[in-house]
Amino acid sequence: MSEYITHDMTGNTVGKVEKKFFTFAEPPNEMILDSKAKLGPITIAYETYGTLDKNRDNVVLVLHALTGDSHAAGYYSENDDKPGWWDNMIGPGKGIDTDKYFVVCANVLGGCMGSTGPMSVNPKTGRPYGMSFPFVTIADMVRTQKALLDHLGIDKLLSLIGGSMGGMQVLQWAIQYPEMVRSAIPLATTMRHSALGIAFNEVARQAIVADPNWNNGDYYEGKKPDMGLSVARMIGHITYLSDEAMRRKFGRRLQDKEDFSFNFEADFQVESYLRYQGAKFVERFDANSFLYITKAADYFDLARQDTSGSGIQVFSRSKARYLVVSFTSDWLYPTYQSRDMVKAIKKSGLDVSFCEIEAEWGHDAFLLSSERLTNLVKGFLESVYNDIRK
């Protein structure tokens, strides 16, 4: 997802940042997951940018999407060719202004970028968890983030922001710890994962488990299921774009050739692009993590957590202000799903703003540099920040 970011050490940046780790839930105090399984110890990788106010009330928690990580902004070293995945939004004077706010971003539970996940070593066996890793949910991810904030001494969040699966965590936070959340910004997301979303995830998972190297998840000492994982990523990239985005970006243009090759090499630019994205992805991502995290997204359904069962009262305990944003060409989380969310929030008597941004780039639009999105986020955060100072 960070393919849009280019090197910009000279521009506005939070500069050099460091990945930190927090370990908790040491046995016998393991965390009890939604699946009833116990997990511990749990390590969460995280980064922070900006300065925590002495009142500790300027915290913005950033939640990453499916394949993101804690590295949302800045650079690990001068030699990095790319900053964090949301560097266009987070930094001095940017949408999430690090001169004003203290930004926290953590890698999700089940991930593979430093937080405990299926590739972590199970201390009981001395070997990676693999398929013995318990199933995790969006609510479990949120529980680990709450533990991290407790550790950092933060008990109120000025705001939460995230797109896609990050948006699911935003919504889950708002109903799971309502007293902590002053405002929330779910972007390009949904209250419940749709059949379409589940379908794409299932095909992606099947691609992984069909790879002979997957070996029932036990591949950490041998060949990895790179083919399966790269196909899974290719499917993902189709869902992140749109008909129009692909038409504009690739059309039917051929890749480095004048005519058809009459073989199964990548003739078209779109094929070449997907293969490249797939190949690049396997270098940084763990196939088992992909299985677990997509399943967590599929299980996400806020309405199931509503006592009335309808989902309409799910926000009734929340006290937050909301900014909901969708994108016109997003077919993975289309605007009607954001409108359902807005309706539910309205019916709970809460303040909600909603904007559907005209964007041709499909679901990925929330990651792209956009003046419109930046101004929305900036204005909304400032207004919440000013409200608590009244």
Binding site: L323, G349, V352, L376, E382
Partner: protein, 210 residues
């Protein structure tokens, strides 16, 4: 029936100044078709209201949210249905009634979700308009209604007198009524007391259920 125009609202368009003067401080206010949120922003800043706006155009919505206003992008007739009875102290429909497909239903909905409703609209009974129809035989084009017949969003032609008649038919109460003579964008204007249906460019009404 006094309308106070104070110093600090002088940058607001004149018709909005009149509306602003009617709003009690600390109220819950919804602006339907709120544009770039000039009125809501003013009321939030100077009268400490809790605001909601509804606006259909993305660019205007984005401008409102960037100002820190709570605004939903959507169609007013659809968005209004989600609110419980008496959610708001004031429901404002400023210069939009003449563009609404189902004004009767909308007025009913507005009075359901709010205790008081403020409606303003361009007065089609103005002498300038009458003159163009009568003497030139053309569909009127005025500074307040600058559109041609083929591109106008104004599909409901009503005058101040029509609206009073409407209040008797639909059975709502007119609490306040002001006719003004003002340009569309102008922050200057005056209240028209003599022959308002002939001389005023806009009518502004504060109404409620009976």
């Amino acid at each position: 029936m006094s309308t106070m125009i104070s110093e600090n609202n002088a940058n607001l368009r004149f018709d909005l100044q009149v509306i602003a003067s009617w709003i009690e401080p600390g109220s819950r206010v919804i602006g339907l078709g709120c544009g770039e949120g000039e009125l809501l922003h003013y009321l939030k800043k100077h009268k400490n209201i809790r605001e909601t706006g509804v606006e259909i155009m993305e660019e205007r919505v984005a401008t409102c949210i960037a100002k820190g206003l709570t605004v939903i992008q959507g169609d007013i007739s659809e968005e209004i249905a989600d609110y419980a009875d008496n959610t708001f102290d004031y429901v404002i429909l400023s210069q939009t009634l003449q563009q609404v497909y189902q004004p009767l239903e909308l007025i009913h909905e507005m009075m359901r979700i709010g205790r008081q409703v403020i409606v303003s609209f361009p007065n089609f009974g103005h002498w300038h308009i009458r003159g163009q129809v009568l003497f030139r035989g053309i569909a009127p084009v005025t500074p307040q209604l600058p559109y041609q017949w083929y591109d106008t969003p104004n599909i409901r032609i009503l005058s101040i007198r029509d609206f009073r008649e409407f209040s008797r038919r639909v059975n709502f109460r007119i609490i306040r009524e002001v006719a003004i003579d003002s340009d569309n964008r102008n922050r200057f204007g005056k209240i028209t007391r003599f022959l308002p249906n002939l001389r005023a460019t806009y009518g502004i009404f504060l109404i409620s259920r009976k």
